[in-house]
Symmetry: C2
Subunit: 411 residues, 2 copies
């Protein structure tokens, strides 16, 4: 008789690959023959508390649906932004959660997310140990920001990086057509870590040297140096393309779009956050008075499944498989992680780390991945990034648009 029951949740911001991890867990759980039930919580831990629970074994009875899930962007189970309290201060949420898990006979709890989600896994694991219940709490990483500790890189990052690099190359073609000096500023997501902005450099090829400059949150942003950098490039090139992270900050640690010199208010006094790219567009225009454009890649960089990295989706799926292996070995308080064995040939091992050593820590770009002047990345960074965007995913299309799996519990 099958004795195990598991429940899976997703949390934090969406990526192209988080459903691939969910697909990996479901696929391996079914294949193992050990699970009587596979549940999903809608809208993460928040939905669990509200008993919004679905039966994933029924929904994914057909393996074809699992394939479809693997190539569906965003989060099939929905998300939440919900921080558990400290159970030593207030354990009411924890009691509620454990009661529901026990009613369902849950043996294994899987939570796919970023830093906040790993905090949830850590707290639940601590509480379970404290009251002595036997449920495995296992975390699975995801974030386009690639800023989780303990893993070589995060599921979801490679696809976002491929989108950024490919879009950058297309923007370069678009920017090159006029016989006029121009400056294009491409704003990439990443509030504290520059990994995704750095990956724009993967667009460089035998004919394209852009992005000509790259600005990352890891380096203090200096407006004068920035303008001087652009001036230098303009001496050599007709059109300049710059990649900037949304999270660059000035010497006082302020985000550019929070800089009071640039704060704009509407008629009602509500502050407009115009975005880092727009702020720099104005700065650059006022200095050079040439054709200037800023492009905010916006949410497309985290949801554009139509140009996902095959490497990323496959690894994200494999992380799900490894999570089931952890569960079957009754490992709790673990976060599935990836360890790079070699760059060439690119080889990854799936490992797990104690969540206590991981939660709430941020992995920024190391200094040797950034050039001395702080306006570009190094060859080391390129070699680290390149394998992650390899391979294309063939989507099914119907009526000219991709066919994704309907998130019927969310829509």
């Amino acid at each position: 008789m099958k004795k195990r029951n598991c429940i899976i949740g997703q949390s934090g911001g969406p990526t192209v690959a988080i459903n691939a991890t969910l697909a990996g867990i479901i696929s391996k759980a079914k294949q193992s023959g050990e699970f009587q039930n596979i549940y999903g919580m809608i809208n993460g831990i928040q939905g669990l508390i509200e008993r919004r629970i679905i039966n994933l074994l029924e929904e994914f009875a057909n393996d074809d649906q699992i394939d479809n899930l693997k190539t569906t962007p965003a989060m099939y189970l929905g998300s939440c932004r919900f921080k558990l309290s400290d159970h030593t201060q207030d354990d009411s949420q924890f009691q509620k959660i454990v009661l529901i898990l026990q009613e369902l006979g849950i043996t294994d709890f899987f939570y796919i997310g970023g830093n906040d989600s790993m905090d949830t896994v850590m707290k639940l694991n601590r509480y379970a140990k404290f009251i002595g219940i036997d449920i495995n709490f296992i975390g699975l990483p995801k974030t386009i920001d690639n800023d989780l500790f303990g893993t070589d890189h995060t599921p979801g990052f490679g696809s976002a990086a491929k989108y950024v690099a490919s879009s950058m190359l297309e923007v370069v073609h678009d920017s090159s057509i006029y016989d006029l000096p121009s400056i294009t500023i491409v704003e990439v997501m990443g509030r504290n870590a520059g990994w995704l902005t750095a990956s724009s450099a993967l667009s460089r090829n035998e004919y394209n040297s852009a992005p000509d400059l790259i600005y990352l949150p890891e380096v203090t942003f200096d407006k004068d140096r920035f303008l001087a950098d652009i001036e230098n490039v303009m001496k050599k090139k007709r059109f300049v393309v710059v990649a900037v992270s949304e999270g660059i900050r000035d010497e006082e640690g302020n985000y550019l779009d929070a800089d009071s010199r640039y704060v704009k208010k509407d008629a009602f006094g509500h502050i407009l956050h115009s975005g880092t790219g727009k702020v720099l567009e104005t700065l650059v225009y006022n200095r050079f008075h040439c054709k200037v454009r800023s492009i905010e890649l916006n949410v497309l960089q985290r949801c554009a499944m139509h140009i996902a990295s095959k490497c990323d989706l496959d690894e994200s799926f494999n992380c799900g498989i490894h999570a089931i292996e952890c569960a079957l070995n009754n490992l709790s308080g673990q976060v599935v992680s990836m360890k790079r064995v070699s760059n060439d040939p690119y080889t990854i091992e799936y490992i797990h780390n104690d969540v206590e050593n991981i939660a709430n820590l941020e992995q920024k770009m190391p200094r040797h991945f950034i050039n001395e002047q702080g306006n570009d990345i190094t060859q080391d960074a390129i070699e680290y990034l390149k394998p992650l965007i390899q391979g294309e995913v063939m989507l099914r299309y119907e009526n000219g648009i991709p066919t994704y799996l309907s998130c019927k519990h969310l829509l």
Copy 2:
């Protein structure tokens, strides 16, 4: 002995398909065996005047290069924004151009572009007739805006529409994950015509009804009605997704981002055009105080070859073929156009129209393509749009990014 020599130029804003048209001309010209030389002008008519001319027969000696050109975004030959004067007022530019064309022994002049480019074709054709020289001036359409007169639709539009529809679907998945009311505003290109914004409706499928509202330049924009529309959708749906054309205008004919109530200046008094989406984001936030986001699709919608429409690229190529057929029949002052024979099965005929009946006319969306309230499109519009985004283009990738053709004359 081959007696013909042709020259080709590109002009106006880039699209994903304008190089496919160039590829069609080169391919058919080579195949016809009638042409001794095939020249290209760099940066359009402006580059021609400056004698920046390249030998396309040499560059595309290899047919594999023509295939590669067909799937390269933006403009291989570069572009210009250059308006010829009226030759009856001042014929100095015309004399210069004709001198260069005669030196090269040009028999056929092809110009690929939008409305302004057709104006160039018309003026050159008038001048040639006036002075009695024997060169065929032939226009080929392109624009993502789909606003050219005399053709069922324009090359470049279908690919942009496919990008907009697919991205819209991905934004919908992204927007659906939180259990909170939210409003997402997607700003689409189109200053005077709403075709591209309308095509966002092609993202609707069995589970997705978004965009919930669509605002087009063809309909006067009323802020109060807009807010009431959103309020109505919010009664039925948790997350609202709205498509707006950058070109919507208020009752006084002013663009939204030129509305003085929203004009923002930086520290130097330079006016910031924040964009229609940003203006509406503020308007909506001030009214509903929920999660609001605006997404400007920006230049990606005109350069994202990675999700081009196969229908569009094939038709754009075929327009090039038809242009050579026109030339071989010594037709001058003609614009290659497409005539829709039927929607189902979708059938197109390649025709040509007198440039005098086409240049400087704008094709907007007809009223019966827009619903009565002016906040959505009709089934007629869907049936018109749908065939244009069909089919996917398999690109070659190298190191994880698409391989395009280097525009070495521009970079």
